[in-house]
């Protein structure tokens, strides 16, 4: 019996954020019911494999648009078709404005034990730029209500590289979140994705340049660590023991099954993706998948993912590439991009900022 993680993609949003290119569409109660049924059908499809799930992750979209009842139906099906570990990490991504005390209670009762709240910033002007429909105060309220409802593992998202953002405002946001006694922060650098409403000169002209963004990132990493949030991945920081177990599956080439439109899987020795089409997902007896890689986790992929993690790449695990890699290390160390200790190569904060180039240089 093997272990896996379940990723459920919830493709609904009350309002699409102008910077977001994840797959989602508008919400209706009817669609969300049909969607829930389709998720259940697909979970059943895997039942025959007798898998143990030790992480479940509701991502989106806005998973918190699902009702407690719908979430419960899905969790019940997971319990029926899989062995859910007693200490399973069950995460739900949530928009602060959807998190009423009642909602939080029903989510918790459904079996969700970790929340990833899309706070993005604790500065109202930055939130306004992002077009979020909540304020810093509303976000803080969502966190404390969640804690009152029994959640003791809460992550908040933070965005850096915003217009007018300074190392001080980044400090303030992190400090404010830290005071709320949360366990985890994901901090992403805003990237203008092609085809999103942000993909225009007016927005680009407002954004800090690469130099400024780099400074913000480095200030952010320092502030995080000063507040006890230790970096464990390019964009992820946690209090000790609160690293996202589900996300670590991605970075450690472990098994995961994705259900829902646009969801990705790495399961049974293959990577595959579900068509980004909610209607099709709802109507198909089993979701349509496309294999994207039939021999995943080769050296390049393994090294690429490992180097995104603070724990780094253990060269003893890649003996046939060791010599090639070691030759390149001195210059990278001189430049302050990496650390190399006990056979393990790991990126510094400066190295994470240049991770594409550093990784490409090391593995190709």
């Amino acid at each position: 019996m093997s272990n896996t993680g379940l990723y459920i993609h919830v493709p609904f949003c009350a309002k699409k954020c102008a910077y977001c290119d994840f797959y989602s569409g508008s919400y209706s109660r009817k669609d969300s019911d049909d969607y829930t049924d389709a998720v259940i059908r697909n979970l059943r499809h895997y039942a025959a494999e007798s898998l143990t799930a030790d992480t479940v992750y509701f991502g989106g979209g806005t998973p918190s648009l699902l009702s407690g009842e719908q979430l419960k139906k899905i969790m019940d099906e997971i319990n029926r078709g899989f062995t859910l570990s007693p200490d399973a990490e069950v995460t739900l991504e949530a928009n602060p404005s959807t998190l009423t005390p009642e909602k939080l209670k029903s989510i918790h009762e459904a079996g969700v034990n970790r929340l990833s709240i899309g706070v993005q910033s604790m500065s109202d002007s930055e939130l306004k730029f992002l077009g979020r429909n909540h304020t810093a105060e509303r976000a803080a309220k969502a966190v404390t209500d969640a804690q009152d409802s029994g959640f003791s593992n809460i992550s908040c998202d933070l965005m850096i590289g915003l217009p007018g953002q300074t190392p001080d405002s980044v400090y303030s946001s992190i400090d404010a979140l830290s005071r709320l006694d949360i366990q985890h922060i994901s901090a992403y650098i805003l990237k203008v994705e092609n085809g999103t409403p942000f993909d225009c000169d007016e927005v680009r002209s407002l954004l800090p340049d690469d130099e400024e963004t780099s400074d913000l990132y480095l200030a952010m990493v320092n502030t995080m660590e000063a507040h006890g949030f230790m970096q464990y991945e390019v964009s992820n920081f946690a209090k000790s023991g609160f690293e996202s177990r589900h996300n670590c599956r991605y970075w450690k080439c472990e098994d995961y099954i994705g259900i829902g439109p646009s969801a990705h899987s790495c399961h049974g020795g293959k990577r595959f993706a579900v068509e980004s089409n909610t209607r099709e997902f709802i109507e198909s007896p089993v979701q349509n998948i496309t294999i994207t890689d039939d021999s995943p986790c080769g050296f390049e992929e393994y090294a690429m993912l490992r180097l995104r993690l603070k724990e780094g790449l253990d060269l003893r695990r890649v003996p046939e590439h060791r010599l090639d890699i070691e030759k390149k290390l001195p210059q990278l160390m001189r430049e302050g991009y990496i650390n190399y200790e006990n056979d393990i190569v790991s990126l510094t904060a400066k190295g994470f900022l240049m991770s594409n180039s550093v990784i490409e240089y090391l593995i190709f």
Partner: protein, 600 residues
């Protein structure tokens, strides 16, 4: 056909003064080409020629004209290259004619090139028939231009035909002048064969086709001919003339005629322009005067941007050489650029044309090194070396004297720009010789200039400083001692051989600074800082730094779409393949090219 009914002539004109258009009108009027078959500027059949409005290779066409006297005449129109790089070819084309039509733009007057070619025609005893073109333009001033022709060239011009080739005005008058003013060819058909090669090209079915002017004797199909400079002997398969679109095998060519010979000749190297064709069984006593072998003056390394295309580049050069004996190339290797060829050209335009043809006709993406001239270096042990590649420049300690080639330059310009021109020529180490006024508004300046000062961008800069009005022509003068140094460019501490060049000491500092700046602009920021240095010997004289890039990260990594992430990385890696990897430094193709375009 009796000789007195033949007229052999060429057209001399400055670029854009309407040579090709006039040629087209003549072809049309003589009904050589049905009007519906006319393509504008028929004689220029290479794409590049048509676009640049210049003629690269000489060509000849035979036309039939019924004159007002009721007689039928044969016209042989020999098209000549208009550019100084092809000066020798021009002189051979002129030697094939008895007359030249001088086309002058009715608003712009005489230009340097026209003047040089007209003098050349007069030297060859050609009858020059001036024609004033573009009289339809509002700015046309035919009277002034006629006066200028009389004053400057010293030939009567007041009754010159005033025409518009574009509008087809007064073309008949030009045709009549050809009949009345240009003498018929002389020559004895019974004497031993003596024919001048003025052009040749390679035909994949017939082998080399040589264009000749028969001066004496007769050549017939079946004859054994000897090319006197090379000594090669061939059997004539075809002899005839060219109509506008094809070769017409006539079986023979006689003294006075212009035509072609096909003799299953495999290599164009055997058919040197200027050489004399004679009969192998009954040879003439001595060849026609004026033959010389053409030597390349300007050299440059040509490399495929994609190293895998080396074979394609070789093949393309070989094919171009079939038609262009003046192009030389030999393999060379560069640490920076890999495998390529050192190519020799007659001049700058010739170089540009070859590069453009390689890129356009053979679809090659090229990296070209800075053009170099041939330096003459006398070593301390007395040995003399000719250096056309800066990489091979000897250790200065072993050099006794270094010499560089000089040219005699002639510049024609409206007088208001004289100050600008003098400044430019002085800046290019020019030695002022003389200046004379052609009329109230136009001057001719003579300078001696080092060839290496004009191989980069002299003409471009001259044009921009004279709002496009100046024209420029040069001829080789020989070598003069000079204070030369080899300037090396280092990236990350390593010399990049493809960027080295030889330069006069006084110019080294400013050039070094400019190159370092250009490279800084054109080398993208990357993982590691890139120090750029320029050095003479071991001494660094300029320095710039491309700072390391700071941010290159995919921050977002969830939803588990690892395949996309990996592909992005692979794509980034692919993108860098288009750059040259020099140690850890990635240098884009543009960086190599940018140093060729230093603004002055």
């Amino acid at each position: 056909m009796a000789n007195e009914k033949i007229r052999n002539f060429c057209i001399i004109a400055h670029i854009d003064h309407g040579k090709s258009t006039l040629a087209d009108r003549i072809l049309e009027k003589t009904e050589t080409v049905a009007i519906r078959d006319m393509e504008d500027q028929l004689l220029d059949n290479m794409d590049i020629e048509r676009e640049r409005g210049i003629t690269i290779k000489a060509r000849a066409v035979r036309l039939k004209y019924t004159a007002k006297d009721g007689e039928d005449y044969i016209f042989n129109l020999i098209d000549t290259p208009g550019h100084v790089d092809f000066n020798y070819e021009v002189s051979r084309s002129l030697a094939a004619c008895e007359g030249a039509i001088l086309v002058v733009d009715a608003s712009q007057g005489i230009e340097a090139q026209t003047l040089a070619n007209t003098y050349l025609a007069i030297e060859h005893d050609l009858e020059v028939v001036p024609v004033v073109n573009k009289i339809d333009l509002p700015s046309a001033d035919p009277e002034r231009v006629c006066t200028e022709v009389e004053n400057v060239i010293g030939i009567p011009a007041m009754d010159a035909p005033k025409i518009s080739a574009k509008m087809g005005i007064n073309i008949e008058e030009v045709l009549e002048r050809i009949v009345t003013d240009i003498p018929a060819p002389k020559g004895d058909t019974q004497k031993p064969l003596k024919a001048l090669i003025f052009d040749s090209y390679y035909d994949s079915y017939k082998g080399v086709i040589i264009y000749v002017r028969v001066k004496e004797g007769t050549v017939r199909v079946g004859d054994n001919i000897r090319l006197m400079a090379t000594g090669a002997v061939f059997n004539v398969v075809e002899a005839g003339f060219m109509d506008a679109n094809s070769l017409v095998n006539n079986g023979s060519l006689e003294a006075g005629e212009v035509g072609y010979i096909a003799a299953s000749i495999k290599s164009i190297g055997d058919t040197q322009v200027g050489d004399t064709v004679t009969n192998d069984d009954e040879p003439c006593d001595e060849p026609l005067p004026g033959y010389r072998k053409v030597n390349p003056m300007v050299f440059s390394g040509i490399y495929p941007a994609d190293g895998a295309k080396y074979g394609d580049l070789r093949e393309a050069l070989e094919k171009l050489q079939l038609n262009d004996a003046s192009l030389s190339f030999e393999p060379e290797t560069s640490v920076a650029l890999g495998f390529g060829f050192r190519c020799g050209f007659l001049g700058l335009l010739h170089m540009e044309i070859i590069q453009e043809r390689l890129e356009r006709e053979y679809n090659l993406d090229l990296i070209t090194t800075a053009p170099s001239v041939i330096y003459k270096v006398t070593m301390t042990n007395g040995e003399v070396q000719y250096i056309d590649n800066p990489t091979n420049y000897p250790d200065p300690a072993l050099i006794q004297t270094a010499e560089e080639p000089m040219v005699k330059a002639s510049i024609l310009s409206p007088s208001e720009f004289v100050g600008n021109i003098m400044e430019l020529c002085q800046d290019r180490r020019g030695i002022f010789k003389d200046m004379k006024y052609l009329d109230d508004t136009r001057v001719e300046l003579h300078y001696e200039l080092p060839l290496n000062e004009i191989v980069y961008d002299f003409f471009d800069v001259l044009k921009s400083r004279t709002r496009g009005y100046a024209s420029f022509d040069y001829e080789m003068l020989g070598y003069t001692p000079s204070k030369l140094v080899k300037l090396d460019i280092l990236l990350n501490g390593d010399v990049v051989d493809a960027l080295s060049f030889i330069i006069h000491t006084d110019k080294a500092y400013s050039r070094a600074r400019k190159i370092a700046e250009k490279l800084k602009e054109n080398i993208p920021r990357q993982l590691f800082e890139v120090p750029i240095q320029a050095a003479i010997g071991g001494k660094i004289i300029a320095r710039e730094t491309v700072k390391a890039m700071r941010k290159d990260v995919l921050a977002k990594c969830y939803g588990g779409d690892i395949t996309r992430k990996k592909k992005l990385l692979e794509k980034q890696k692919e993108g860098k393949k288009r750059m040259r990897q020099l140690g850890t430094v990635e240098v884009p193709q543009e960086a190599f090219m940018s140093v060729l375009k230093l603004d002055s």
